[in-house]
Amino acid sequence: MDRLLFGDNQFFGVNHMSEEKARAQAMRFRETGAVIEVLDAALDEGIRTFMCTTHDRIGEICGHLRANPARYKGYVLYPCMPYAHKYNNAVAELGMLGALNRFVPAGGILQGGMALMTKDIERVMRLLIDAEMKMFEGLHAPVIFLQNVVVDFLMGLRFREAFRVFAAHVKERYGAEPGFITMNLPRLLDSLDEVGLENPIVCANINKIAFRMCGGREEYERAIATRRFRPIAMSVFASGALPAREALEYVCGQKAIRSIVFGASSRAHIRQTRQLVQELDA
């Protein structure tokens, strides 16, 4: 895993600080070309891993990557599935089963219908993963993440087997490593231990003000320092609540943190983050 990973919230109108900012970003990145411009700027700054939600529009970006293999040689994608609002809205509209019916892939209607009918939820999960992965065909995606809303929801239900099913399918079918995003890091490490997933890749909010770090800052710091897993820090700037240097000093000060995922909309910001991290790591 690279030290710096590029995130995608800024492209899809996700901003935890301001709805106005979120809307302005949604307008700015209306055209996929505008997204690609920023990805290119990041690439030119040496950031070649894009950690992205399986949002429909990522499909267009994948098309662009496939169409320009020379430019994107060595480019790495870390898909994060699912894009939860797609499911959430479908459940409100169609109900639980209706939503599953919509998203279980068309190619496997018989297979999917059968899995649904027999309540074979593991098989349904595998089909849903395949549906989400379709857009990444032919691209290099060595780590595949399960989004925090799903991870934390399943952990809440104590449906830990789902983590094992996800990990196994991602390994077998895509030759990728499973990754887990969470807002409850210490607890998730216990859950992953219980299903025997060793040295897992776990992405969590890690920031100085403990924004969305359930369990608290001390427990996070202890877990990062003492437990065997590969931490990726996200939300390191706590949605802009922390100045860049102060934010990165906190994260870079914890040597066990492997990678930092961050979002930015301009080359200047990307460069600033890269330079700061290089300086603090040195």
Binding site: S18, E19, V91, K119, F153, L157, I209
Partner: protein, 364 residues
């Protein structure tokens, strides 16, 4: 250990289950749903006991508290059953479809002396709590007008196949979405004395409304507008926003931030990152966890404040009821007199415009 049962494991019930199931003082003793499919899958993979009927859940699993997250039409019956057996009750919003039912349940809950809470999670959003604090302290002076807006992408096409698209089940934007705005309005600004200028429209839906607009009139002269549209795809998820104007300034609040303008001092902004307290377990927003843990804390520590009580939620139901009745009177306007006088094309144009509705009426 507090024994909790959950009735209704749809979108909200599942979310509540995930949160309470991690609480160290709680044991979920049973789930109930009319849809056997989800229930079967859930109980198979979580080991939780499943019941097809809420009475069976209450009688056999003997919960001390019940979380009710069923279609709104069924709230009254299930809540009554639980209250009569002395159970603490958390019920999803809106409270009841009928205000008479609501009133009777408020009284019953008081007699039963149990914790009673409705799932208006916005009350647990840091920025709205800050707005309440500022308004209570008179930060922007005497209020003269406010606006509460809620927009989101729930219905973007004519067909819907859940109870949310059925009026008799309590579906529609008025009950499902406008209830949040009505609850925030009554919480922040008090109970209005009346409602006017209500427009309740369908945009895409066949059987239910998709947008709601109304003016609320308060006895002290304060006015407010509710603007709600759940067929607005420019939002990723529900976006709720409050604006208030006072003689000494202005306040804006949404889930992310609380902005206040005080005359002579200018703007002051506080963001969710500083306004949001930590929660024990996060699934999909601090407010969902906070309201559940608050419910449990109320039961355990017998705290008397009871945020989002049935009585508080009944106020939102009353506002919705007023809007519904006002809108049912059809479009009315005080300029109708002038329009009538002209007798010309304007009137005909207006009549065409509201075709299918009762003819333009004089304001009383």
């Amino acid at each position: 250990m507090l024994k909790i049962g959950i009735v209704g494991v749809g979108k909200m019930g599942l979310s509540h289950l995930s949160i309470v199931n991690t609480h160290p003082d709680v044991r979920v003793v049973g789930l109930c749903d009319a849809a056997g499919y989800v229930l079967d899958v859930l109980s198979k993979h979580t080991g939780l006991a499943a019941f097809g009927d809420y009475r069976a859940l209450v009688e056999r699993a003997k919960p001390e508290a019940l979380i009710v997250a069923t279609p709104t039409r069924t709230h009254a019956e299930i809540v009554r059953y639980a209250l009569e057996r002395g159970l603490h009750v958390f019920v999803e919003k809106p409270f009841c479809l009928s205000v008479e039912e609501g009133r009777s349940l408020v009284a019953l809950a008081a007699r039963a002396k149990v914790v009673n809470q409705v799932g208006y999670h916005c009350r647990f959003v840091g920025a709205f709590q800050e707005a309440k604090r500022l308004l209570r302290n008179g930060a922007i002076g005497e209020l003269h007008n406010y606006r509460v807006e809620a927009y989101g992408p729930v219905v973007l096409q004519p067909k819907g196949s859940t109870w949310r698209s059925s009026k008799s089940e309590g579906g529609g934007c008025l009950y499902d979405y406008a209830s949040h705005a009505a609850n925030l309005a009554t919480h922040l600004f008090g109970m209005p004395a009346g409602v006017g200028g209500s427009a309740v429209h369908s945009v895409f839906s066949k059987g239910v409304d998709d947008e709601v607009y109304a003016t609320l009139y308060h006895a002290n002269g304060l006015t407010g507008q509710l603007c709600i549209n759940w067929a607005d795809e420019t939002h990723r998820k529900m976006s709720l926003r409050v604006e208030a104007w006072g003689r000494n300034g202005k306040l804006n609040a949404d889930r992310q931030e609380c902005q206040v303008y005080v005359r002579g001092q200018g703007w002051n902004v506080r963001y969710t990152t500083e306004l949001t307290g930590p929660v024990r377990y996060y699934v999909r927003g601090e407010e969902f966890s906070a309201q559940m843990d608050y419910f449990i804390d109320c039961i355990e520590s017998r705290r008397p404040d009871n945020v989002n009580s049935f009585a508080a939620a009944l106020e939102a139901d009353l506002v919705l009821d007023m809007i519904e009745r006002d809108a049912a009177l059809g479009p009315r306007t005080t300029v109708a007199r002038e329009v009538e006088a002209s007798k010309g094309s304007i009137r005909e144009a207006l009549a065409r415009w509201i075709s299918g509705k009762p003819a333009l009426q004089r304001a009383p």
